[in-house]
Amino acid sequence: MHLTIVIQIYVFVLAGIVGYQVISRVPPLLHTPLMSAANAITGISLVGSLVAAGSDHSTLSNVLGFIAVVCATVNGVGGFLITDRMLKMFRRDARPRR
């Protein structure tokens, strides 16, 4: 097995554990914004898309990359804006409770 793959597996497993620790602290109150946020960060496929769109392999590569960049950007930009709209709605009352 290549060393690169071993390192990749380390990164994947540890990131999964960090994810579990972070996500399990999100209260049910915010589960919908969490889902929306997770959806927004799926836009990270932009990273791979940009490389494809900016390469000099072939026009087909560029076109596929271009479509991927458009889709990933819609996903990311839209996702973050929707999440922000949701989070803005969560207000608390200043009045003390009995």
């Binding site: 946020a37 960060i41 990270i44 490389v51 207000r91």
Partner: protein, 468 residues
């Protein structure tokens, strides 16, 4: 990855590391509503860093397609998506999140296909495995999410669609897709296997979501979220990009964790949701309630009971949102609070069409979040509750889940409203709940029924309350 890194690569890795940290701390912000917005800004900044870092990539030599893509994507996202950030009601959010999943998954799928077309028969086996997973999960997520969108948007029928040998057929297809993935890893030159795998994955996405009913959508949407994340991670393995691996893994855990939480809240297994087509066959015979009678209550009596209570707990179900009665409900509880009544909202995790959906629906109606309590927080309060107001909820308050082992929902965590001193159930008619199960709560001597459309009934209650 061995040896000295060139300077350019060092810059990229530095930026990616910073970006990963932003994403992790950004999600961490979601542990409370006060920090959440800033957390998300941090995550968005992480995304910006990811883009900037990638532009330094050695293989990025031309920027025309990139700039055009980023611009078009932003324009579509901001301009066409504009109503989503302003006026589209929160009831419609699940389908738009599903559609957004589809867009992200299209990107992952295309990147994988492109990479395979470049490398072809020379693809190293490890890379091929990662590319295969990326495209398999990506294609599945694309069609699955579009189907989920269609169902939730009611372009397609929301009820489960079933056909003979459905589960076996789907399992065979899944096995075939994985078989083809193995084949193309063994021999990366077999392009037919790659394309067949992609096509089968796309078909499977459609067939998997068709038999799933509306109330099971939270699980499916979470699951598709997990697939999209894992697809991004696989892309990271294929392109040797740690940032993709990390963010994909964060995304994957989030989706997986939420689907597990949803399944637990319904006391059902993953397999049961995916293969069960819940709502078609309504399981074991419901316990006959006998000739028990329900008691009706008039709106003025209900208003009096609410007005002189010490603690009122409201249990909103999805029926409330369907009737668009959240605002009327908030007005009612405002008025009660003004009279000195303590009001709490009890939120069952499965109330709505995505995890935590009811919280957002109530927040949209300006209910303050310190009034919203989840199952565990509120279940201890029912014994000291004077009146429980159940609106458009049914199975989540059915005591049979606790008492009747023959009931299909037995074991499901419920809101123990029957422990309260009195219960008012607002309901359209005597129809049974989603699972088609009789609810003995309605025949409990402490329960009074207020029949009618939720919005209208709340309006009448409000008028009566003002007149007191």
């Amino acid at each position: 990855m061995s040896g000295e890194l060139p300077g350019r690569e060092l810059v990229i890795q530095g930026i990616y590391l910073l970006s990963s940290v932003c994403f992790i701390f950004g999600l961490r912000g979601l542990s409370g509503p006060e920090k959440a917005r800033n957390g998300m800004r941090l995550a968005a900044f992480g995304m910006l860093l990811a883009v900037v870092g990638t532009l330094f990539h050695a293989n990025v030599v031309r920027f025309d397609w990139i700039i055009a893509g980023l611009l078009l994507g932003t324009v579509i996202g901001v301009v066409i998506g504009r109503p989503l950030f302003i006026s589209v009601p929160m009831t419609a959010m699940p389908q738009w999140v599903a559609l957004s999943h589809a867009a992200g998954a299209v990107a992952a799928t295309l990147v994988g296909i492109n990479e395979y077309m470049i490398l072809g028969a020379t693809t190293p086996k490890g890379t091929m495995g990662a590319l295969g997973f990326e495209v398999l999960l990506g294609a599945l997520t694309v069609t699955g999410s579009v189907m989920a969108f269609g169902k939730l948007q009611e372009i397609l029928p929301g009820r489960p669609i079933t056909w003979p040998f459905q589960n076996i057929g789907n399992l065979v297809l899944a096995a075939a897709a994985i078989g083809l993935l193995v084949a193309v890893v063994v021999n990366p030159g077999w392009t037919w296997a790659f394309w067949a795998m992609t096509a089968i994955a796309a078909v499977l996405g459609i067939l998997m979501v068709l038999p799933i009913g509306g109330a099971d959508m939270p699980v499916v949407i979470s699951l598709l979220n997990a697939y999209a994340g894992l697809s991004a991670s696989a892309m990271g393995f294929a392109l040797d990009n740690n940032l993709l691996i990390i963010v994909g893994a964060l995304d994957g855990t989030s989706g997986l964790l939420l689907s597990i939480l949803m399944c637990k809240a319904m006391n059902r297994s993953f397999a049961n949701v995916i293969f069960g087509a819940f709502g078609v066959v309504s399981g074991g015979a419901a316990k006959a309630v006998g000739a028990a009678e329900t008691r009706e209550i008039s709106p003025d009596d209900a208003a009096v009971r609410l007005a002189y209570a010490g603690l009122v707990v409201v249990v909103p179900g999805y029926g409330l949102a369907v009737a668009q009665a959240q605002h009327a409900l908030r007005e009612l509880t405002d008025l009660l609070e003004k009279r000195g009544v303590e009001v709490k909202y009890a939120i069952h995790p499965v109330a709505g069409r995505m995890p935590g959906h009811m919280n957002v629906l109530l927040a949209e109606a300006n209910v303050n979040y310190d009034r919203l309590f989840d199952l565990e927080e509120v279940n201890g309060d029912f014994e000291r509750t004077d009146v429980v107001l159940v609106i458009g909820a049914n199975d989540v308050v059915n005591p049979a889940a606790r008492t009747d082992p023959s009931s299909p929902i037995y074991g499901m965590p419920i809101l123990n409203v029957d422990y309260a001193r009195s219960i008012i159930v607002m309901k359209r008619g005597m129809g049974s709940g989603f699972a088609g199960i009789e609810n003995e709560l309605f025949y409990n001597p402490k329960t009074a029924m207020l029949f009618g459309d939720a919005k209208q009934s709340l309006g009448v209650l409000l008028t009566e309350l003002k007149a007191l």
